[in-house]
Amino acid sequence: MEKQQVIELKGITKIFGRIVANHDCNLSLYNGEILSLLGENGSGKTTLMNALAGIYCPDAGDIYVNGEKVRISSPHDAYKYHIGMVHQHFKLVDTFTAVENVVVGLTKKDYEEIAKKDGTKAQGFNLKASANRITEICNKFGFKLNPWQKVNTMSVSEKQTLEIIKALYRGVDILILDEPTAVLTPQEIEKLFDVLRAMKKDGKSIIIITHKLNEVLEISDRVAVLCKGEVAGDILTENATEKILTEMMVGHKVDLNINRMEIPTTGERLIVQDLSLNGRDGRKVLKNINFTVYGSEILGIAGISGSGQKELLETIAGLNRNTQGTIIFHNPKKEQPVTFFHKNIKQIRELAAQGKFHLKGKKEPLSLVGKTNKEITEMVNKEQIIFYEDEIMNLKGKKPIEIRDLGIKLSFVPEDRLGMGLVGSMDLIDNMMLRSFRKGKGGIVHRNKPAALAKELVDELEIKTPSLHTSVKKLSGGNIQKVLVGREISTRPKVLMVAYPVRGLDINSSYMIYNLINKQKEKGSAVIYVGEDLDVILALCDRVLVLRDGEVAGILNCKDTNKNEIGLLMTKKVEERSEENA
């Protein structure tokens, strides 16, 4: 087939407030080709495609479809020009069946156009006929989908299939996929790529938005790279290598290696036994979870999104208390002195009454009865009060504040940065004291120490902010994450839990976060890392725990495993079930 230009974008510019999302972007697309749109998060890939799909109206620039200048002001408009987009967050009605989702919003005129394109008779609203047409499309391109299945019973990959079919049903010739592989397992990605190749053979053009280099090289014919809102250039895939593409993306050379430090672990730190959690609807979200994390170790947690990763971390952090099982925290305190960093005087008195301490150099239990607070303070400062044994505490059923009051340094960097970790409307300083604002006497908050900490973090982590008094929500994603991780690490945690810490971050910031996590490991912390990029988990973590449907599918040693093995563990059961359904 002769190569023909189907889409041309000329000088597209889109500005949000002060942020220039796209500046003077030129891009063309030919029929029967797969074009990858590559760029870091925030480089303007999605914005540019949204302009093409009718979500945004560009501030300047023109769009040409088949050489015709057009103005696309809504997604319905885009379908008129046979352009369809599958968004990263699917736009489906959960309680509808697949076929209902496909036909929703179609007008009589749309049906007529579709029929005209097919060369058949217009059918109007007829779910059975539509279902038949869906099955035809499935057979043509090699999809698997039951038209009568409800969306809320579908897996993520099935939902994505449905979104693609929805576009194809409307006669789309140009399909845009926004980060289609982010939520899929390696096996599902292969299936998706097969379908895309079949569509390409049929003469359709496909644009894939992604930031994963290996996928770009595998699937696409041509790569266009966006850097800071501008098109840095395009290149035929056969001429591209990972190195070239990265340099185009970032604008300078980067080192793409994560160093996994091989250091001996320092004993058990967190032991989770038979942990189960009931969700709101009574279904078990976590089922008999068992694992142990050691000091100086990074335990990765992998799984399809929604397999219980979030719930597991939140349960350990004390946010879900409707649980069964035990969460044991092991504080390596044997023969170590007590410090005020962990305990206050009242707690020291209580522990002494239980005979947990001895005086330095003596064997018999220490009694603090009759001693004044001042005397105890002096003894602690001179490191004279020594633990007999390691401290062992059960965190199950304890609130976050109770855990902290026990002197346990447990840090949690949640997935939802502004909804849970930080308060977006407050400035950097106020966010620093989120977990410590009660300290100090009186009813007035003391902002000196948080201000010093904020300044230190801004300098050390190169946080880009106009001032310390800027609302956190005005910072970029990477800087927000640095503020959060920096604050959590500044408490010198014994256990650090991080959930999707590099989501939405550019390459440089991501590597900075990996380094920070590695440093914590070096300092003896036990780190639990929940991530979605299996390559990163394999490179960064010591062991990886695979969650599947709220159960531990396996714990593997990162040195002895590979992506495929993890991928199989992630999905095995899902596939079994979908076969039952079929």
């Binding site: 510019t13 500005i15 030129n26 620039g61 050489g67 015709e68 308060v423 106020d430 009813g443």
Partner: protein
């Protein structure tokens, strides 16, 4: 794909005339200039409308063009008495606006200030009617304050408790509590109405028991002084106290608050009790300082106007000073202008409503910018549709 191109052969492509974009980091001087120009513009508009609706001819009143402004100033700052009265009105509005602000800051939409203040008035009036005549005046005032505090705080605590434990909708709940309070007060004043009247009437008119003492010839001064101190205290509370910090966290997200160990139920109820207590003080000052009685209309809608003042002041009690003073000047001044220029008092209400609507509009211009693309708009209109298959030349990209 020839069939594709055919469908859209003749199609006019028009660029939008303007679009709206959000401003980032607006400098203070810019906000000041926009606000000031809107205030002046609103004043101008009020003057023009006033000129147009007044039946007085230019012969009768040569200065009619600026008469509105003359009567506004005359009605508000003509002499010490009117000036104090204006400031008193402004202060009452200010304290109620400041009172509901802590609740607003934690996204508890308390629109029940009207009822809470009224309950404060009710409490104060009960003491005034039944106890005050038989005890020393300072004791009577203290008792009035205590009962006003208890009544109003309880009135605010009820919806807060329901919100905390049953997650009821606070907006509807506080609104309904207003009507209950109004009903209670109406029943009370009917039961104990003055002889020959349908209302309670001025209490202790002879003995002045439970009346706020006058200093420098004004019974408002003590009240105004108390209110200024309270407003500064509330500002300090919100900005520098641990409680204020907790409220700010709750404003961000309830989940964050729970995670950092803030007891959301406690903060909700505590903050609403504080709101109610300050409303109670407002009610007490209103009864002892100026109304000396209680009736269903004694609060006069200030509880609702306060919602607007609180929003206009961006939940900063100090910023609210400006808007409450403006409100007092415009409402009192407009009714004075209406009386003198011989048009209906309802028109005066329309004027003050219009005035604040315009000031609210200024918020849009400080937050957003409108960018016109006139050239593109008209250019695109005249552009002939491009013929099939023709590749367009690269122009008109950057603008």
């Amino acid at each position: 794909m020839p069939e594709l191109a055919q469908k859209q052969k003749v199609k006019k492509v028009r660029n939008p005339l303007f679009h709206i974009a959000r401003r980032n980091e607006v400098p203070t001087w810019f906000v000041f200039v926009v606000k000031l120009s809107f205030i002046l513009g609103a004043l101008l508009l009020c003057g023009i409308i006033s000129f147009l609706v007044s039946p007085i001819t230019l012969d009768e009143m040569p200065e009619k063009f600026i008469s509105y402004y003359i009567f506004v100033v005359e009605g508000t700052f003509f002499n010490m008495n009117t000036a104090f009265s204006t400031l008193w009105n402004a202060s009452l509005l200010l304290i109620i606006a400041a009172a509901i602000t802590p609740a607003f800051k934690m996204k508890f939409w308390n629109i029940g200030a009207e009822g809470q203040v009224l309950m404060g008035c009710f409490g104060a009036a009960i003491v005034m009617k039944f106890i005050a005549p038989s005890i020393p005046n300072f004791l009577a005032l203290i008792l009035m304050l205590v009962l006003a505090l208890i009544f109003a705080a309880a009135w605010a605590a009820i919806p807060a408790i329901f919100k905390a434990f049953f997650n009821t909708n606070e907006t509807l709940f506080t609104l309904m509590m207003n009507y209950i309070a109004i009903g209670l007060v109406a029943a009370f004043s009917l039961k104990f109405k003055a002889t020959g009247s349908t209302a309670l009437g001025v209490l202790n008119a002879g003995t002045h028991a439970g009346w706020m003492p006058e200093i420098f010839g004004s019974s408002y001064l003590i009240g105004i002084f108390v209110i200024i101190n309270l407003v500064v205290a509330l500002w300090f509370y919100l900005k520098y106290s641990k409680h204020g910090y907790e409220i700010a966290v709750l404003n961000g997200s309830v989940r964050t608050a729970e995670y950092v160990g803030i007891n959301v139920k406690v903060v909700t109820i505590r903050t609403m009790i504080l709101c109610g207590a300050v409303c109670g003080i407002a009610g007490f000052l209103l009864v002892s300082g100026s109304s000396h009685t209680v009736s269903e209309t004694v609060v006069g809608g200030r509880g609702f106007t306060a919602v607007m003042i609180s929003w206009l002041g961006h939940f900063n009690p100090l910023e609210m000073v400006l808007y409450s003073v403006l409100n007092a000047i415009i409402t009192v001044g407009s009714s004075n202008a209406a009386a003198n220029l011989q048009y209906s008092g309802e028109v005066a209400n329309v004027l003050s409503g219009l005035f604040f609507l315009l000031i609210l509009t200024s918020e849009f211009f400080t937050n957003f910018r409108i960018r016109f693309n006139l050239r593109q708009f008209f250019k695109s209109k005249n552009e002939p549709p491009m013929s099939e298959g023709q590749t367009p030349k690269a122009e008109g990209g950057k603008q």
